[in-house]
């Protein structure tokens, strides 16, 4: 069983071409990154605002908790039913999938940003203000740099979930590694399904590793080094 999965993975023909592993991996990555960026565009400013002002904390907590409970499949179908008649071409399939992934990614990013900002040492924040930093100086020079580790872990966990869930885009006919799962299921090709699953996990790990590297460069060593 394992060896036949390996055979599928090691067959060059499965890697090449429009529908091959390489192309689907790139497509998968593309959807995932677009979803992450969109989710970040929504969740980061929200998290910054809530963390910085302390206002709307209830909103943050309920969004973070509530969104997690929203079943992706249900949202996908609702979005398809609503958007299919309204959109032309590829977008009619891409947008519903994107909505699902964005909803999925918002909670971890939001709670990462919010918690990162909220957990900045109150003394550091107080000192910053007391030394004459303006609100935005406090935010960008003190709160954000200190929140980076938690922000990153929120982003990374969002990305892991996006990559795993982007497979359902294949349900509505989009590309990506989900194709191997869905097509494999449809044609009872077990090796293809298992191989696809392994590829998704591998992609998730790889992306997480890259994010980890970026984090190492971006986050101040002062936040990791201790006496």
């Amino acid at each position: 069983m394992i060896s036949s999965v390996f055979d599928w993975l090691s067959t060059p023909a499965n890697w090449e071409g429009d529908r091959g592993i390489i192309s689907q991996t790139l497509t998968h990555l593309e959807y995932s990154l677009i979803a992450l960026v969109c989710a970040a565009l929504i969740a980061v400013p929200m998290g910054l605002y809530i963390g910085h002002t302390g206002r709307g904390r209830v909103v943050a907590v309920s969004i973070a908790g509530g969104f997690r409970a929203i079943p992706s499949l249900g949202v996908l179908f609702i979005a398809v039913l609503l958007l299919l008649p309204r959109l032309r071409g590829e977008l009619a399939f891409a947008l519903p999938s994107l909505i699902v992934l964005v909803i999925l990614a918002i909670p971890p990013i939001l709670s990462g940003v919010y918690a990162g900002i909220a957990e900045v040492d109150p003394a550091a924040r107080d000192a910053a203000k007391g030394m004459g930093m303006t609100g935005s100086q406090v935010l960008w020079q003190v709160e954000v740099p200190n929140a980076l580790p938690l922000m990153f872990s929120g982003m990374r966990s969002a990305m892991l979930q996006i990559i795993a869930t982007a497979t359902i885009a294949a349900v509505v006919g989009l590309g990506g590694l989900g194709r191997f799962l869905i097509d494999g299921q449809a044609t009872r090709d077990y090796d293809e399904m298992a191989g696809g699953a392994l590829l998704v996990a591998a992609l998730a790990l790889l992306v997480d590793f890259v994010f980890g590297l970026v984090q190492r460069f971006v986050v101040s060593p002062g936040l990791t080094k201790t006496a």
Binding site: S72, L73, G74, F77, I78, L81, G178, M193
Partner: protein, 214 residues
């Protein structure tokens, strides 16, 4: 009684199925995560590999797991057992780190006092570390419960009966009603799970009085 094209009796049945499929793995997963988390804390060299391995399990797409498990377990594709096992895997993936964190959250002086009084490591785990780790474990359980409720619905794609069936059914009938009811039912269920875990956690930690912040 029908609501938006969904028979209420049916809805109740699907909800019960959903509770079963999401709930049982939560408990089984916790029971398995406790020894794993404990091991990770006990044996320092195991900490990294164990948490990486369990974390890796979370990156497997749920749909893939539902489809692949029959091949591994020798079950039928439609067997609810596949879903139970898959959800248990995800629960372990989330809770092993939680348990390890929880055990580490117990203050050192408390652990040392317990050891000094003669607790063996295992007895200390059940008498001291785990009870004190309840708040952290409960927090992890809440995340796991909510995400389990959501992930279980994907099992509709492999035809296992639970609330997610309302999504495929509604979709196939071009009817928004059942899908919306399914989503709302999932949300209510998640809230319910959350509330139960919260109250169990409170009941287990009477020393955690809610302090009024001033």
């Amino acid at each position: 009684m029908r609501l938006w094209g969904v028979d209420l009796g049916e809805l109740i049945e699907l909800t019960l199925d959903h509770i079963y499929l999401a709930g049982v793995p939560l408990i089984v997963g916790l029971l398995l995560a406790i020894p794993l988390g404990w091991l990770a804390v006990q044996r320092k060299w195991l900490y990294g590999p164990l948490l990486a391995a369990t974390g890796l399990m979370y990156t497997i797409p749920s749909l893939a797991l539902f489809i692949i498990l029959p091949g591994i377990l020798g079950t039928q594709i439609l067997d609810p057992l596949n879903v139970l096992v898959a959800m248990t895997v995800y629960t372990i993936a989330l809770l092993t780190r939680t348990v390890a964190d929880a055990l580490q959250s117990v203050p050192d002086h408390v652990k040392q006092a317990a050891t000094a009084m003669g607790y063996s490591p295992l007895r200390r785990l059940f008498a001291v570390d785990l009870p004190l780790g309840v708040p952290v474990i409960a927090a992890g359980m809440r995340v796991a419960a909510v995400s389990n409720v959501s992930i279980v619905s994907v099992a509709a794609l492999v035809g296992v009966s639970q609330l997610g069936i309302l999504f495929t059914a509604g979709f196939n009938r071009n009817a928004m009603g059942p899908i919306l009811i399914g989503v709302v039912a999932c949300l209510i269920l998640a809230t319910l799970f959350d509330a139960i875990i919260l109250s169990v956690s409170k009941a287990l930690t009477p020393w955690q009085t809610s302090r009024s912040g001033s």
